[in-house]
Subunit: 71 residues, 12 copies
């Protein structure tokens, strides 16, 4: 049967180099405790500045995953 339920959580990844690395890092970290992550959606992109330079890109993501192997 194809009906199933996803769960969505919100995480913030950060990277000194790029927005893509902040996203990949957040997904990799979340995958340590969650199986079956299926998609992400960028909610917000921010960052820190020190000494007149960007120190980190911080990307807030929603991550969707299934709780079992049906998805």
């Amino acid at each position: 049967m194809s009906d199933h339920t996803y769960r969505v959580i919100e995480v913030v990844g950060s990277s000194a180099s790029s927005i893509e690395d902040a996203i990949k890092g957040a997904v990799a970290d979340a995958a340590k405790t969650l199986r079956h992550i299926r998609w992400f959606e960028v909610v917000e992109t921010r960052g820190h500045v020190e000494n007149d330079q960007v120190q980190h890109f911080q990307v807030t993501l929603k991550l969707g995953f299934t709780l079992d192997d049906r998805g």
Copy 2:
């Protein structure tokens, strides 16, 4: 004492038949691991199309629940 704290999570329910069934299914699935769900709020309604026909209604919900029996 009446002051208490709710927790809100986000889930996505899906159903081939109706938006209401997608909501009910998401609540029922969440209730397997959460007690004391009190309300839901629809965040987004989407769906999949295959062979020119709607296959699933997918409804993203916020679910509010209490962590104990005070609520």
Copy 3:
């Protein structure tokens, strides 16, 4: 002359069975005191959960109506 003014109010309808019935009920209730309702727009869809089951769908609507017979 075709220029006229509409008034918009906000109501919340509820139904144990469907979103459509919550909308129809809100329109029917509002029509007891307002003549000339012309349109509705869904603002928010929420609901209550008790004993792990959806008890009510609650739909917040804007209702547009004219104050006279010109509309």
Copy 4:
């Protein structure tokens, strides 16, 4: 190669009976001229009222489709 481009259009479906039928009707109508529709997203739900009763549910949708068979 898995990279491809989707196109998104906006349509409004209407139905006297239900929100689901308004969505299905809009997808079916769009499928007369578009192949490869893959998903929909509800943008807005409105409707007309006459003689104190809901006449139509009008649902504005975004529809995503691919321009070829790669999707």
Copy 5:
């Protein structure tokens, strides 16, 4: 290494006296099960009225925290 991932959850705090107490209560309750809460963001402020008087201020918050001691 400075790159790390935060997790964001949503909670609702309530207080009969003030918005600030609702926020503080929600943070204190969440801190019972979560270490390393770093920030909050107000999402929504609502409340209940009974007998023509405000009974509770209800504040929906996002809470950001780290999963370890790196943050």
Copy 6:
């Protein structure tokens, strides 16, 4: 029968001392002509400044109430 319809109005309360007093004042004023107010939701918080000092906090609220004793 548990199905009923709420009405939602928008008011702006103001107070020289606090946001909470602006909310309470708006609810109290509205209660002079409306019975059965059930909830409020903060829409906007603004204020006036004179002589470099905040003169008033102005809080725009939605107020939900029932038209009868069923609620």
Copy 7:
């Protein structure tokens, strides 16, 4: 004492000639039954098209007013 409460209603004005006339017409119509209108805010600008030409500009407004002479 300077603390008082405003009421906000929503109206839709229309004009075949301009957005400004649609606003002025909506204010004038509302003033027939409401005294002490103080401000307006444009919520939405729409219009009807017939025979390839704009027939009406329709402007949805919020109108703020006081219930007495204190404002």
Copy 8:
């Protein structure tokens, strides 16, 4: 049968003189290739400035139309 489907497109009209003319021009231009335009909705109002003066008002519109004569 009264159920039908509308299509919505987005256009940007511009005029050196007024917002209304930018809207009318966009509708007139779109009508060269589309029959049965029924409504417009303003999405955004922008403009260009040169030599300290407004050169153009640019209005982004959604235009709704039917694909046939049923509408």
Copy 9:
């Protein structure tokens, strides 16, 4: 080299006669102290009402400009 940075400020223009004049006045006033204004974007349209009549249209704008002659 074509890469450059714009600055964006927010201003509110007002006019008793029209929305366009409120925009033009805000641009003209800002141009007294800023060179190189390039574009505007309407953020909000409000106004004051006295004696049942619109006294002013107030338009909040974002104004983009370059800090030098590169733009």
Copy 10:
């Protein structure tokens, strides 16, 4: 002549005790360099948490002021 132009800036005030004090502090700080501040609008309310307790309320405000004595 009553037509004039306001300028709007964005500031973030913080206070360990209350949201109102964060707003008052931001206005007082801004008034050190700006004359004729007329209004504020709350854009966002956030805060820092350390050792499981709220350390600061941080309130982002828009502040409107006139550039001269006409306002």
Copy 11:
């Protein structure tokens, strides 16, 4: 004459490597059938995850173009 009308469409580009490549790919694909694309605006950034890794960045864009050579 400088007044002209733009058309805006929505597309979704995807790339396994970067957000920029997803944007460039969507523009290049759209340019196969559209001449005179002038600008893009990012609406949404999402992506797919498989086996705990980001498979694609998916970027939804609005694309503005003119229908002729006047722009």
Copy 12:
């Protein structure tokens, strides 16, 4: 004393190569006249297209900074 006030400005950075470079360029340019920039937040990502190719990524940012060395 830990209470202080930040100021937030809006800038637009552009780069022919990447979104990250557009952000870094905007921060570097702003740092020529502002000391103590602490954070940025992406508001909007747009760009120009010429000859069917992306010419620039344009990123609108909010930049937060303190007016003194307390921050």
